[in-house]
Amino acid sequence: MNPNIVEIDNLSFGYKGRLLHKGINMVFPRGKVVAIMGGSGSGKTTLLRLIGGQIKPSKGEVRVDGEVVHQQDRDGIYKLRRKMGMLFQHGALFTDLSVFDNVAFPMRELTDLPESMIRDLVLMKLNAVGLRGAYHLTPPELSGGMARRVALARAVALDPNIIMYDEPFAGLDPISMGVICDLIRSLNDALGATSIIVSHDVKETFLIADYVYFVADGEVVAEGTPHDLMQSTLPFVHQFVHGEKDGPVPFHYPAANYQAELLGQNSAKHSQAKPGLTKNSQAK
């Protein structure tokens, strides 16, 4: 058996003339929690969508359990997706269904299980995320943290082999963040699954991840265990991990000379340069 459940090989993806990923290589070993980190707009979520087969790469391939995702037809992709669970950034709970029905949704849609068994399974999943007592509530009645936990219960409803998390900690209070953090690790170990976390929350991600990839400017700029990356002297990793304001990722968006702009000179001549890892801010 291939030790890696997901493999990304020389993947390039772009749209509207912009190349978002340029020859990315990543592997996600079975049973591990692997994080993909990077700044906003670096294409982390797009990588999850490429793994899930929602979009096709321009070049290269993504293999899930040995199968090339973009070569599958609709049925093939749906078959692969049955091995996956995904937690969306804001939960993506179905607002017209109760908490119970949200968790029961994949079971009712994809299995022929009797309703009595679905009931027991849903309650077990909700109990695992600590929300068995909230089964009757509707999504608008839940707090952000609770909604994320219900979405997590729904993501693992069919015991997937791969669980993908899109910004699981975004917008949560510290208690909810701790709870979600703990759940990701414990569910991964209990189910023997592989977790792929897309996040820019360094502290929480480093706490639970076995391996981390840093993505910037469409490339993997660093990778390693959280411990290695904490010690990294690479300027981008150092700036990101320690949350420094300026560095390879400039504080200022590329702009014309500050003094000249204030004095009304060159007002229309803004720089066309794009922010990048090797460029410092052009603002003076």
Binding site: G52, R81, H90, A92, F94, F105, P106, E109
Partner: protein, 268 residues
């Protein structure tokens, strides 16, 4: 210099027209593709007909109030205006036929479709647009559940089933409104009102044709609402624009289709 500016301006204008035309053709193609896929995946939604029944409640039953109240007033106004004209020619007894034919042939299907687009069509677009914005459709896709089979097809059939029922109710309530104005208020003979109607309204040419129109309008209005929601950019502004487009495009489509269908029906 001036020539060059003029040429540039002309090029920009032509490019703008071309771009808008291309976008419209593209949207028409995307809409047709969604319609085709909806028909393909309808079988799956028929297997779970409770989903369609639920949508019939939201699109059909919840539209009842606006349909019934509008129909009542439309019928009353028709009777008043009809009587005003007919009495000049001494044929005020024909008021029943006028009200019934106007409603069954034209006003029933057309006004119901316009009200449906405003009431249920906008609700469908906003709901699907918000489901897209909040990633509910993506979540469904990632769970290997086809959103067209689970979300689009039940709503489509609910609209197609609801529309002829609503149009029939519209005509019935409209006739009742016309009767109340014509007989008790104006004093037209009760027997003449109903017997003239019975003698002059043809089941095949009037009632069935009216039903065919309402089914066609049901397909058009529901599909436009679904496509606009499904195609809406996932932002608040995108959903708002899509909702507006649903009303505008549905209304124009209904009026244009009405002309086409009426032409065919009168010829045949």
């Amino acid at each position: 210099m001036i020539k060059s500016k003029l040429l540039n301006s002309l090029t920009r204008t032509l490019r703008g027209i071309g771009s808008r035309m291309t976008e419209r053709v593209w949207r028409l193609g995307a809409g047709a593709r969604l319609f085709f896929l909806t028909l393909v995946y309808s079988g799956e939604s028929f297997k779970r007909f409770h989903l369609t029944l639920r949508e019939i409640y939201f699109t059909g039953v919840m539209s009842l109030l606006i349909i019934v109240v509008s129909a009542f007033f439309v019928g009353m106004v028709l009777a008043l205006q009809g009587y005003n004209t007919l009495q000049k020619y001494g044929s005020s007894e024909a008021i029943g036929v006028l009200v019934a034919l106007s409603l069954v042939r034209e006003l029933g299907p057309v006004v119901t479709a316009l009200l449906f687009a405003g009431r249920a069509g906008t609700a469908i677009t906003a709901e699907i647009g918000l489901m897209k914005t909040t990633e509910q459709l993506s979540a469904m896709e990632m769970m290997a559940v086809n959103p067209i089979a689970r979300v689009i097809a039940p709503r489509f059939w609910a609209g197609v089933i609801s529309m002829p029922i609503l149009a029939t109710l519209f005509s019935m309530v409209g006739i009742l409104g016309g009767y109340i104005v014509a007989v008790p208020l104006i004093g037209v003979d009760d027997g003449a009102f109903w017997s003239q109607m019975q003698a002059n309204v043809d089941f095949r040419l009037d009632i069935v044709n009216g039903l065919i129109k309402s089914i066609v309008f049901g397909v058009a209005c529901t599909m436009i609402a679904l496509f606009e929601g499904f195609d809406a950019p996932p932002t608040a502004e995108g959903v708002s624009r899509a909702t507006t487009r649903t009303v505008v495009i549905s209304s124009l489509t209904v009026l244009a289709l009405d002309f086409v269908l009426t032409s065919f029906m009168l010829v045949i």
